[in-house]
């Protein structure tokens, strides 16, 4: 299923025009870049401090002064939403990197060392049997709730998805003549793994990582919403929706705007993932 060899496009002069030709990829990248910019530049853009309390202005509806309204403590929802983007994106990105590090290492080891394969393959299968949110909340419960444990838990939860792809492709690539040739020339195993195998797996890993980024953001929001993730005082899109839950029917804007932010971020990541799949590997194209 996974691509074994695909042309390395990085640095290709055609890359920009290929991206522009793919509308979904382009739209996804633009929306994602805008969300990331808003988050990074939050201190410059936010009209108010995200933590400034103003009891007289509590639960004000959206309007000219507070674009997205205010919450139960009179804090500006717009400022909080763009600040929250920093943490939500950070959790998604770091969890994806961690899942990548664990998943790629496990996949390569399982694919290369026959003795390790049965154990790792079975662990991957068993890990995939747990629904992601359930496994994540159990891990957070075991490790103690904090920003770091949420990231670690999500990294562990999504690692098997990458490990499975890397393992399957490694099993095929290791038998290819050029790998045998490298071995015959005495190239050390770790070097074969990285230079000859991993390099050919960059496309499928990149595509999967984009989707994991999206899932991890959704899962973080879910955990925070349930109150088992990041502390409620830290503004993430999930904790903001959780806070707004008590004011449903009274101050709907408290849940509406952070929710739209999540949808836009996840949607843009999915568009990028789909677009990348088309761009990097025509054989994986969903509409062949």
């Amino acid at each position: 299923m996974a691509a074994v060899a695909s042309p390395a496009l990085a640095g290709s002069p055609k890359l920009a025009s290929l991206i522009v030709q793919r509308k979904t990829l382009l739209i996804g990248l633009i929306v994602l870049a805008m969300i990331a910019l808003l988050a990074i530049l939050a201190p410059l853009i936010a009209p108010y401090s995200p933590t400034r309390l103003s009891v007289v202005n509590r639960l004000k509806p959206p309007g000219e002064r507070w674009w997205f309204g205010t919450d139960e403590f009179g804090r500006d929802i717009f400022s909080r939403t763009i600040y929250a983007g920093r943490l939500s994106l950070l959790v998604g990105a770091v969890a994806t990197l961690l899942a990548g590090a664990i998943g790629i290492a496990l996949g390569l080891i399982a694919g290369f060392f026959r003795q390790a394969d049965p154990v790792i393959a079975r662990v991957i299968d068993a890990m995939m049997a747990f629904p992601d949110i359930l496994l994540a909340i159990s891990l957070v419960a075991a490790l103690g709730p904090s920003l770091a444990t949420v990231i670690v838990a999500l990294g562990i939860v999504y690692a098997p998805r990458l490990a499975r792809i890397v393992r399957a492709s490694t099993l095929i690539i290791r038998e290819l003549p050029y790998v045998e040739a490298a071995r015959a020339l005495g190239v050390p195993t770790w070097r074969i793994m990285i230079r000859h195998v991993l390099r050919n797996l960059i496309s499928p890993i990149l595509v999967q990582a984009t989707f994991i980024f999206a899932y991890a953001m959704l899962a973080e929001a879910g955990l925070s919403f349930l109150g088992v993730g990041v502390s409620p005082e830290i503004p993430t899109w999930g904790t903001m929706i959780a806070a707004g839950r008590q004011f449903v029917g009274q101050a709907d804007w408290m849940t509406l705007f952070p929710g739209i932010a999540i949808v836009l971020a996840v949607l843009s990541l999915q568009l990028v993932g789909d677009g990348l799949r088309d761009l990097l590997d025509p054989r994986l194209r969903k509409d062949l």
């Binding site: 079975r122 662990v123 299968d125 068993a126 890990m127 049997a129 747990f130 629904p131 992601d132 949110i133 359930l134 496994l135 909340i137 159990s138 891990l139 957070v140 419960a141 075991a142 490790l143 103690g144 999206a214 959704l218 929001a221 879910g222 919403f225 349930l226 109150g227 088992v228 929706i241 707004g244 839950r245 449903v248 029917g249 709907d252 849940t255 509406l256 929710g259 999540i262 949808v263 996840v266 949607l267 999915q270 568009l271 789909d274 969903k286 509409d287 062949l288």
Partner: protein, 313 residues
């Protein structure tokens, strides 16, 4: 074929064994003493020691593991610390809302997603196809709990069509209970319909250009029969896999959705167990749900044997 079935059963048992081991490890990696965490800061050392003994935490890890396996083989998932009842009974009591929520969500998702996916593939590139594909991607990006809150705001609070939360009282009629499930099932079903639509579309596209579809058309067969009898029947295997696995994934979605709607299901039980550090309940729920996933996977594999004469091992 018998050999294949036996192989699959052995494989399934091996995965189950690994699942059990992972669950054992997760609960034991907790930093600090689980007994102290469970009892809270006011517990005396004597209380903690008593609970450690009750849970068997004072014994070496290997002994604990063997004891844990033995317990499981006897169908004993342990005792809930806070509910004061066996974990299995606690799960059993909460199974009904979760079961019906999952079934209705799958029904809603399939009723929408299968026809849309088929039509989308059949009219590939049309306005309908583009709209359906875009909507499916949008639906996959919506957190189910947020959609649930929106449904509560609009349909329950403003329009007053369905109850806001809960599952009716203990004496509520089946119909009343069903009315409590409509909105949660809609929230969960919408999100999973995205996945089923995309898979149905993709697997229909795979078969629509096949020779036997062309042959059926050239025989002068009606389009509806060509699409449904020849194409869809062959596209059914990947679709069935996704519908089956979506059912398992829905259990995960149910964890969050049940909390939004205050449904007294397994998801709600797990969340309150996590908040109260009721480790035996967390452990039991993880085991049961993972076991269900493995079993559904196995059942789907066995279904292949029945519905597709080409699958013979």
């Amino acid at each position: 074929m018998t050999r294949y079935v036996i192989q699959r059963i052995v494989g399934m048992l091996a995965v189950m064994f690994t699942v059990v081991t992972i669950v054992f490890v997760i609960v034991r990696v907790a930093p600090g003493d689980p007994a102290a965490v469970m009892l809270g800061p006011d517990a005396t050392p004597a209380d903690i020691a008593a609970l450690r003994e009750r849970l068997g935490l004072d014994r070496p890890l290997v002994v604990q593991y063997v004891y844990f396996l033995g317990q499981l083989l006897r169908g004993d998932l342990g005792q809930s610390i806070f509910l004061n009842m066996p974990v299995l009974s606690a799960l059993g009591e909460r199974a009904e809302p979760t079961f019906f929520l999952t079934v209705f969500s799958i029904l809603i998702a399939s009723v929408v997603a299968l026809p849309v996916g088929i039509l989308s593939a059949y009219r590939r590139g049309s306005l309908f196809d583009q709209l359906a594909t875009t909507l499916a991607m949008l639906a996959a990006s919506i957190p189910s709990f947020w959609l649930g809150l929106i449904l509560i705001q609009v349909v329950a609070v403003r329009l007053g069509w369905f109850p806001v939360s809960g599952y009716g009282g203990p004496d509520a009629s089946f119909l009343t209970r069903l009315s409590h499930l409509v909105l949660p099932a809609l929230a969960l079903g919408t999100v999973s319909s995205a996945l089923i639509t995309r898979f149905t579309r993709a697997s229909m596209l795979d078969v629509l250009n096949d020779d036997y579809v062309r042959t059926a058309r050239s025989k002068g067969m009606g389009e509806f029969r060509v699409v449904m009898k020849h194409a869809f029947k062959n596209a059914l295997i990947p679709v069935l896999t996704v519908v089956g696995l979506t059912a398992a994934l829905l259990i995960s979605g149910a964890v969050v959705t049940e909390t939004v709607f205050g449904l007294p299901g397994i998801g709600n039980l797990v969340v309150s167990a996590v908040l109260r550090r009721d480790y035996p309940v967390i452990q039991g729920a993880l085991l049961v749900i993972a076991a269900l996933y493995v079993l559904i996977n196995f059942a789907i594999d066995m279904l292949y044997l029945l519905i597709d004469p080409r699958v013979r091992y």
